[in-house]
């Protein structure tokens, strides 16, 4: 599923219904009590200033990039507001993927078959995961992973889909650096294109280097990145509707 496809559905709906209204509607329709509880926790009004929005940074490590073929291996969540990250509320789960681990993804996130052997199925921790997201706006770096993977995982397990708005710190960087393709002349001069990867983006804001590819650390990294982005480029009064996707 491409980014555009993933996105098109939700955008068509937002035109008619706002996110809080959709949550109410979906809460009624949802059959699974866990999903119902997630929607019932509600969604902030679109005009809420970002400084007042409860966020939760979310990161998944997966066996690959395609939600149709690959599975979630680990989940990290870090609740925060623009003022503070609360490390005490952070959580991390290892879950057993439905599909075999690919050798290449092992080398990226360092999770091995042994780790996975003891891990529960996502189904078993779904209540905890959804609870950690409830009432908060998820923040991700690159929106084409967490939302579609979670959606697919739910479809498989409970036969229902999930949708929610996200803040995408990578999309914000992409917006700030629109001309990332180099001209032939810049290439000739050996210029490097601006990187909007998580670690590279953080450097632009004086944020420290964290070792990448652990779901919890990456979630923390994107939480801090959003704090920095808002302070540098937006006002804390910016309504959330201008930034969520």
């Amino acid at each position: 599923m491409s980014d555009e496809q993933e996105h098109a559905g939700s955008e068509a709906l937002t035109e008619t219904l706002s996110w809080p209204e959709r949550y109410r509607e979906l809460a009624e329709k949802a059959k699974d009590p866990r999903l119902k509880a997630f929607y019932e926790a509600g969604c902030v009004a679109p005009e809420t200033p970002v400084k007042d929005v409860p966020f939760v940074a979310v990161d998944f490590e997966t066996t690959g990039l395609d939600p149709d073929k690959h599975s979630i291996v680990s989940i990290g969540v870090v609740p925060f507001t623009l003022g503070r990250v609360q490390l005490g509320g952070s959580r991390h789960w290892l879950v057993k993927p439905q599909l075999p681990l690919h050798q290449t993804s092992i080398t990226i996130h360092g999770i091995t078959h042994t780790d996975i052997g003891k891990a529960p199925d996502l189904e078993e921790v779904l209540d905890e995961v959804l609870e950690s997201l409830a009432g908060r706006i998820p923040v991700v770096h690159y929106r084409s992973i967490e939302r579609p993977f979670l959606n697919m995982a739910l479809k498989w397990r409970i036969g229902e889909e999930i949708c929610f708005p996200v803040m995408d710190t990578m999309a914000i960087e992409a917006h700030l650096h629109p001309n990332r393709k180099l001209t032939w002349w810049q290439k000739l001069k050996g210029q490097q294109p601006v990187s909007i990867r998580l670690g590279d983006s953080r450097l632009r804001y004086g944020l420290p280097h964290y070792p990448p590819h652990n779901a919890l650390v990456d979630a923390l990294a994107s939480a801090e990145l959003l704090m920095a982005q808002i302070q540098h480029h937006f006002s804390p009064e910016t309504p959330i509707r201008d930034l969520w996707l």
Binding site: R84, L87, G88, S90, Y205, G206, P208, M227, Q231, H232
Partner: protein, 624 residues
Amino acid sequence: MQAELIEIRNHLAQHAPFDEMPEELLDRIVSDIEIAYFRAGTDILKLGERNAYLYYVRSGAVEIYRRSGELYNRITEGEIFGQFGLLMNKTVRFPAKAIEDSLIYLIPDEIFQYLWENDDNFTDFVEIEDHSRLRSALSRREKSNQPMTARVTRLISREPVMAPNTVRLQEAARIMTDQGVSALLLMDENGDSPRLSGIITDRDLRTRALCEALPSETPISDIMTDDLITTNSSSFIFEAMLTMLHNNIHHLPVMDGDKVRGVIALSDIVKHESQSSLYLVSNIYHQQDVKGLKRLSKEVPNTFVRMVREDANSHMIGSAMAGIGRSFSQRLLELGEEKLGPPPIPYCFMALGSMARDEQLVVTDQDNAMVLDDSFDPAQHDEYFLALAKFVSDGLAECGYTYCTGDIMATNQKWRQPLRVWKEYFADWIENPKAEALLNSNIFFDLDGIYGRTEYTEELKTLIAERASNSQRFLAMLARNALNRTPPLGFFRTFVMEESGKQAKTFNLKRRGTAPVSDLIRVHALARGSRAQNTFNRLKAIGETKLIPEDGVDNLRDAFEFIAIVRIRHQALAIEAGREPDNNVRPEDLSPFERSHLKDAFQVVSQAQKFLKFRYHAQVGRNV
């Protein structure tokens, strides 16, 4: 704590006071940490605000201010702040502001109080940060890991990378690339053993080779730097730092006699000493106008206090403060030349007095002069040099170096003269000494060229060294003047105080303490024909002769150090307390330890003055 947060725990574990805590305790701290981000320029803590966190800088830099708004401290990665407020009543006592984009870990008060009550190491650390650290500093021994007392050899991390000075340009570049170094030492291999003959750096390759499009076969000896500045393996890191800043070089070979021990780079020092005077000095050279320099000068007292806290001795502090003063002067001269255009003829800007002696403290006026090239034509050139002198002098005054009340400044036409006139001045002072005139020109016998053709000053030093030792009348007169100020020996029985108004119950540690010592040591040094300017270096030179008895030299050195360090601490305490630092000490301010040692020190000075009188036939009150 989530095991995944080990990264945060490890960062804490690398920094005091967390570095000695058990892992379980660190885990507990990490679980309760909150994180905040502050963009450069934003307030973190405001005076009087409620605060219930200890702040830990994960990245960036933060400045802490006094109530008065004056800078108190600069905090960087791995350091904490906010503890004063937590110990008082959870109210901010020292406001804090991010000066770089900063990521801060906040440790809740509950944890802070727990650590405070249960972890002695933590309690000591936080307490020592308080003023008590300063007060107890005098009696504490120098620690080998203190930045001010560490030797350069600590920064040498690898064997020196060397090549014969006969290699070609491209080969030199290849060796540097292969070895991953930014400087290559070039050795003359003609003698019995290889001898260091030059150095080439990345910057040299760029500016001297690439910019000039030199062929790759160019002999490296054509472009290497061969008038090498090096340092000795026994020198202090701070001395190496001053040498680099003084000469504007970034690489410094460290020598053991003729043998090269290694090379240290300015960046090594920056890494080693993140909060040193270096930060200040290197910033001076980045300022683009007097306003910027003025702003920076507000940090000088802070740097001074920090060195005192780090147990630097008076020589280090005096050199660092003089180095800072020189840097301000040098930058002002550069800015002046930018503004007025290049000088029409060569000149040398000369520092006099305490700056030349490397014995500057925080309370100081400016003493300077200009030595112009002998082609000087007043009608044609003086307008320029007057304007430049005025620019520098006004700039220094802006930066807290007040105008010299005796008008010993380059703005005074008398002290803005060509080299030949300066030679006449010195010849006249030495060969036709008059007590009164010498009293005023004492200061010119501590001189240092700090900008431009410093060799002019060297010529003057040579003249002084050659002639002064041969003029008994001059030495006698100088000795006589050196006896005008006596140490306050009666101080400890019936207090002998300065008599004038405001400071009636005090005595002046400069006038009656350090100055008499440097005065009398100057006489001996000139008699010996020494070119040294610093009092300790002069003492060393004197020690090599039989001018004064051997233990006399040691005693004088100890006495001078002790008086100087009491004076320095007195000033640091005043700065700490938010008062204007001065040299006037009230007896009740001194600890019993200081009193008893000061008494000994003054006795040494008094003995030395008696010896000076005898040695140079200097009778106070009449000419000889």
